[in-house]
Amino acid sequence: MTSPLSKTGMAACLIILILCALTPLLQSDYLIDVVTEILIVALFALSLNIIIGYSGNVSFGHAAYFAIGGYVNAILLTTYGWPLLPSAVAGVLAATLTAAIVAYFCTRLTDIYFAMLTLAFSMLVWAIVFKWRSLTNGDDGFTPVHVPAMIDDRTAFFYFTMIVIVVSIAVLWVITHSAFGRSLVAVRENVGRAGFVGIHTRRMRWQAFVIAGFFAGVAGVLFGMYHRGMYVESAFWTQSAQVLIMTLLGGIYSFFGPLIGAAVLFMLERLTNEYTEYWPTVLGVILLAILLFQPDGLVGLGKRIKNKFGGGGSP
């Protein structure tokens, strides 16, 4: 995980990037919508993995920062008529700031207590969004979101999203592969020993949480503009669980794992919903399968298959 990107890896990334960028050429509004949404949830899942895969804690309330980013941006754009840049920045900052405060309390605890507390904080956010009707429009959802004319077009918004997401993922890559990222892994692997070698574990975990909150906020800002609306469900704990499963499905011990998990799960949900209302069962069975048979997710599965058939290349 800490090794730099191999040549084949680099090439693969580039190809995927180009393929994504060419989506609008297929002339399908549906496809543009799908890729846009996948990009957004992928960033959301990647951000969560900074907490789980790197610092080793499980947040059950990550949707809160996603929702805060989305709502603050939506409200500033629409109700107060702010231009895009300051409004989006304010949205992301609000998410980051909230994450910083919540993390201050949560990082005092570990494990189960950490998970439960993140959940409770996110539900507080949910309750506030729900009840602050004059600002958020409560249960009805905040619609419409005023999207600036420049990106108020399917293709334009797609490219805008793509640029923001690619830059965000690149930054996340750099962070996780820096000295900071390596010490985070050390924290996860062995809290005691990391403490010995002079890493302030609580502060590291706090920083990881804040970074995750920042990028969840970015994803939320894009989400609100894409849907031209924000809904309270975005902050509900089941949303946090869903993104957690995406992360886990892809594989928490790999950088790109959550991205793959997000894409797969998103498409699966779309397609399942067309045929049956029992998407939760499908999701539950997938989850059981991962937990009982494949704890390192799809990426781990891919690696195992590759090793079995003697495929060389980087591990």
Partner: protein, 390 residues
């Protein structure tokens, strides 16, 4: 990743394929067919299908058949918006129709605006849809919260209520009905005072904390828009407190006078309730209406039918008429045709106002009483209160 892209390309091909069958007119409908709203979504689909079948049996519209693409709106605005968008971009529907719950209606309306496609709201009543959030592509064939609030104010005046406790669900419909009622009270009975505003959540089941507050406030009239199972739960929990016996009347929007509620509750239906409905199977206004009721009864397998079919039926009929009149499915033509259009519905003629895209759909109102020959409460006398702000 590669596999996903391959799948995506296949999907795109599917989308292109369906566009080739442009002969049929595709109606995208959104009613809740799973979850708590399914008991309304199911009957709504009965009315919808009846209208579609009738039109197709008569040879379609200018030779084009109606095809229904149905998606589950799940009583959830976010899910409904996604489904609506997908129906437009993937299934290529020509029009959106339906929507149960005001929040869902507003979400679909927003998609209609973005995608430039006409949306006929057949059930949602929030006034915002035809005022602050009105846009050229949205039309409403149901009643709205201003009409409903006005009728409630007239009834409060009629029974001589003085002190009102208002309990409404905490979402668009509840808030707008409360506003509509208050504005109407100023017109009809300015001396009536609303002393308590309570706002339980949509899908709430435990009303204890609200019931005890109403008891403590000492009002002589309780007004509400708690609909469906909200009302059933509220009534059951309020009965031990004697709430319904201690007031002059419980005046309720939200159609709790409809048979699906009264029939379900039987003897548990509380006393002193005055409420509304779009349709009563035991009350026909014309021979035409009687025929319609019989058809619905046949499709539903019971003569004691629900009130939802008439709403979805009317929506399809309006759209079909607009397609015939404009000679196509282009949104601009449909909009022009619908503005000011009058059609005959089973419950009488209905006209869509050109300015605010609202149909003049009124409702039946009356007290719910015990009557010989019925094992549940029925509305008697039945009064049609027309859709107008007096």
């Amino acid at each position: 990743m590669k596999r996903i892209l391959a799948g995506a390309v296949a999907l795109a091909a599917m989308g292109a394929g369906s566009a080739a069958l442009a002969q049929d007119i595709k109606i995208g409908v959104l009613y809740p067919t799973s979850g708590g709203g399914a008991i309304y979504g199911g009957p709504a689909m009965v009315g919808h299908n009846l209208a579609v079948d009738e039109i197709n049996a008569a040879g379609g519209i200018n030779g084009r058949m109606l095809v229904t693409v149905a998606r589950d709106s799940k009583l959830n605005p976010a899910a409904a918006a996604s489904a609506a968008k997908e129906m437009v971009t993937k299934d290529g529907v020509d029009v959106l129709m339906g929507g149960l719950s005001s929040a869902v209606g507003l979400a679909i309306s927003e998609v209609a605006k973005q995608e430039g496609i006409v949306y006929l709201a057949t059930i949602p009543k929030t006034i915002q849809m035809t005022t602050s959030k009105l846009h050229p592509h949205v039309f409403r064939t149901s009643s709205n919260t201003d009409f409903e609030g006005d009728a409630m104010a007239q009834l409060i005046k009629k029974i001589g209520g003085k002190k009102v406790c208002d309990i409404q669900l905490d979402y668009a419909y509840g808030h707008d009905l409360a506003d509509g009622l208050k504005a109407a009270l100023k017109r009809h009975a300015p001396d009536v005072e609303v002393v308590l505003d309570l706002r339980p959540k949509l899908r709430a089941t435990d009303y204890n904390v609200f019931i005890t507050q109403i008891m403590g406030a000492g009002c002589d009239v309780v007004t509400s828009g708690l609909w469906g199972s909200h009302f059933v739960d509220f009534a059951q929990q309020a009965s031990p407190f004697g709430l319904f016996n201690n007031i002059k009347a419980y005046i309720s929007g939200g159609e709790v006078a409809s048979h699906e509620i009264a029939g379900k509750m039987g003897d548990d239906y509380p006393p002193n309730v005055i409420s509304n409905t779009y349709e009563l199977w035991y009350h026909a206004v014309s021979p035409n209406h009687k025929v319609f009721q019989e058809k619905i009864a046949e499709k539903s397998g019971t003569k004691e039918t629900a009130m939802w079919p008439v709403l979805s039926y009317t929506g399809v009929k309006f759209y079909a008429e607009a397609v015939a009149k404009s000679g196509g499915t282009k949104s601009e033509g449909i909009i022009k045709a619908l503005e000011g259009m009058t059609i005959d519905t089973p419950v009488g003629p209905r006209t869509i106002n050109a300015a605010d895209h609202q149909a003049n759909t009124g409702q039946f109102w009356g007290p719910m009483v015990k009557k010989d020959g019925f094992s549940y409460k029925v509305m008697d006398p039945v009064t049609y209160i027309p859709a107008e702000i007096k």
